[in-house]
Subunit: 256 residues, 4 copies
Amino acid sequence: MNFASDTTAPAHPDVLEAMAAANHGNAASYGADSVTDALKAHLAETFETNDFDIWLCASGTASNALALSIMCSSIGAIACHQEAHIERDERGAPEFFTGGAKLRLLPGFAAQIDETALRGALAANDPSFVHETPLETLSLTNLTECGTAYSVDTVRHFAALAKAGGLNVHLDGARLANALISTGALPAEMTWKAGIDVLTFGLTKTGAIGCEIIVLFGQMRAHMEALKARAKRSGHMPPKMRYLAAQGQAMLREDL
Amino acid sequence: MNFASDTTAPAHPDVLEAMAAANHGNAASYGADSVTDALKAHLAETFETNDFDIWLCASGTASNALALSIMCSSIGAIACHQEAHIERDERGAPEFFTGGAKLRLLPGFAAQIDETALRGALAANDPSFVHETPLETLSLTNLTECGTAYSVDTVRHFAALAKAGGLNVHLDGARLANALISTGALPAEMTWKAGIDVLTFGLTKTGAIGCEIIVLFGQMRAHMEALKARAKRSGHMPPKMRYLAAQGQAMLREDL
Amino acid sequence: MNFASDTTAPAHPDVLEAMAAANHGNAASYGADSVTDALKAHLAETFETNDFDIWLCASGTASNALALSIMCSSIGAIACHQEAHIERDERGAPEFFTGGAKLRLLPGFAAQIDETALRGALAANDPSFVHETPLETLSLTNLTECGTAYSVDTVRHFAALAKAGGLNVHLDGARLANALISTGALPAEMTWKAGIDVLTFGLTKTGAIGCEIIVLFGQMRAHMEALKARAKRSGHMPPKMRYLAAQGQAMLREDL
Amino acid sequence: MNFASDTTAPAHPDVLEAMAAANHGNAASYGADSVTDALKAHLAETFETNDFDIWLCASGTASNALALSIMCSSIGAIACHQEAHIERDERGAPEFFTGGAKLRLLPGFAAQIDETALRGALAANDPSFVHETPLETLSLTNLTECGTAYSVDTVRHFAALAKAGGLNVHLDGARLANALISTGALPAEMTWKAGIDVLTFGLTKTGAIGCEIIVLFGQMRAHMEALKARAKRSGHMPPKMRYLAAQGQAMLREDL
């Protein structure tokens, strides 16, 4: 797959039309507007639930790092594949946003975490041993960085292993739409029903100008205020969020 | 002045037209595109110099914090007015981006730093005394947070005092256009000719969807690679930067 | 008072004797030794309670910063006097250990916080307003940096105001022994009975080689594991803690 | 080797005697005392050079992390063995002190970095590629965490490879004395003559109460003021440094 080209292509025409449509009259700042409300309603249908909350930002690196910063403390670690985008292509953003958490890199074919390696890391994890940094989060990517897809069964299985070990589970969905097409799974099946706590859902690589959605499912909604504060202080609280939401709406109509 | 309304207003129609105009054909990612080049040429005219470099981002908080993060180390301090936006309205972004630098708050009428207070802070500054955090940067805001304008003479005078004390000088120009109108000064006079090292030039509050320009003048250009790296890891390296540049172009034609 | 001389004076002879007495046989590392147990028993008597936990470190700056790092999040603020040691003499340690929290500086005569200023800061504090950094902690110093003493009544009153506003309360007790002598108060009265959640109790300035005790009272004991982890990663988990505890024991016999 | 026991053993009797000997009369604080001067003179003989500067602290974790914090920026990476103490046993201290730098883990038998892996990492290193975190530092451990010794030739060779790639080189010498005995090398040969820029030299595990020496060789002396500032703000600037220096002196007489 030629991912490099994703960011050189122009935006989908619907995206700019939707932004223009959002461009009339005054609107509440910072996401309290009707365009953002409409996007949230659309997502409720897509994910077959109302038990979620969202935040929008224009950067995939930021959406992953913000999500991880409310999932893993500065004194914890995040397990991920050794070729994960969060390890290889984000210039240390997870370390920066978490305040110094560590990434624990796991091997596996075609950018999919090897189950034995995951079980080994979980078995060795001892939060009470103060000298080593304990795992707090498992981060999966689907489509993976190699363009392969985890099945819903594997996501559910890995999430269950992680949760049995006290970890929460993040899904980097920069190319979630492709993963759903590739596996034939529904959005809900691949995410919260499989045990995903936080999804970062990317639309930039599939046609938006810049629109990434952080979705907090279920109990993670309790961290929404902390997420907002962290978004604010990292410069990811767009005053005119309606233009991001308009992109999201346009892309969702296309994608899913 | 009713600043609250700045972010509730729709974008200027030219902004969306310019974005649509930028939306054809593939383009190099991350700012190496012709729209960004054209913006830079426009700024060269505006600021009457070619001795500068720029970075674009969509957030005023981020542009200030990124600028400060290449001006002040994690073990230094930034002098600013006690009502400065960087102190009051950015949820600790400067501390976050610098890795823990301190803000040294100075008093003064109508959000303008009092000269005696500035002189006192500079006189007491001793970088060799390891127990206190030494000043490395002076940050001015023009228009100030109260809507008053520093004159060119005052900016030049304060910058000279700061430089004599070994500090570099930042100008928060979230409303620079208004300051230029209010004082009748030219952009070059109010910035690099007056001793400003880094300008954060805001267009969002005057009509863009989200477009802030960080301008590194003269010797600060040496920090351009560090700025890019910090932009990348904070999620402020928009892959499709041309849409930001298009907004900048449209607003500059209106503003200056 | 000539505080400068505190750190140039030799240690009290009892301190070195106690260290020598601790120097026989093997002992459990990292505080699980009999000397540390004995110190804790001594402190239980001193503070008239068993509802506390302790951590020892050799640096006053570290003990304050570690304490604050479990009291205030990276996106919160700490109210303190504008001449507080944590603001003026610790080279940004609180910002570093908390991951970028802010200090909110309050005025007041003789390094004691002015009640009106404290009430004003608390009244203006709105954790739900995401753009400003909300207060999470009040830090008092007794003896203050000017050598004056807060009375037990004032400490209790200020702590009650802070708690009514949702803050927890830290006491920098680098010279607590002097404050107790000066006011005639008992250790328990000046600390947990007055609403202090975490005390940093210094013995270095009164005669130890380097011994500071962080005391977590009551509900703050829940943060003991986080404190240990933060101590470990900041290099304040002395493997041979018994030598610190021996100093503490010797000084407590002298001091209180 | 039973390293666990290192920190349970009592201190060498000479250490406490030396501390007692340092315990008379007033002395300048923070290392400007005669005991520290004498230690420096002793080290000049040991390392056959005067072109170095030192800092003392009581923690091996802190000495490594402080050293690395002046060698690698917050936006850079440190190459080390995957079983290195800085990766496995310091609870994220390097990430904390550097402000979020990454560790790049290299494989190799018996905790020694594999040369092919090192060459591969260096060949792939491209500081101009902003998306990945570039290597700035190579960290070696001698004795390694497995108790094996790198020869002087290997240290010199690996340091030369690293420097050809623009990296500086750190040696974690928590058990340097054992490495020297094991290889028959002289201290100078194993360190600055082999290309080591910064050595963290541990005496705690061989008999001190807590004494680690950070040695900046040659051009790294330019970072001494930054090191002091970082030591101050992390609580590793012992006011009564003479007691650390006395331990160092006593151990050096024994060890080398």
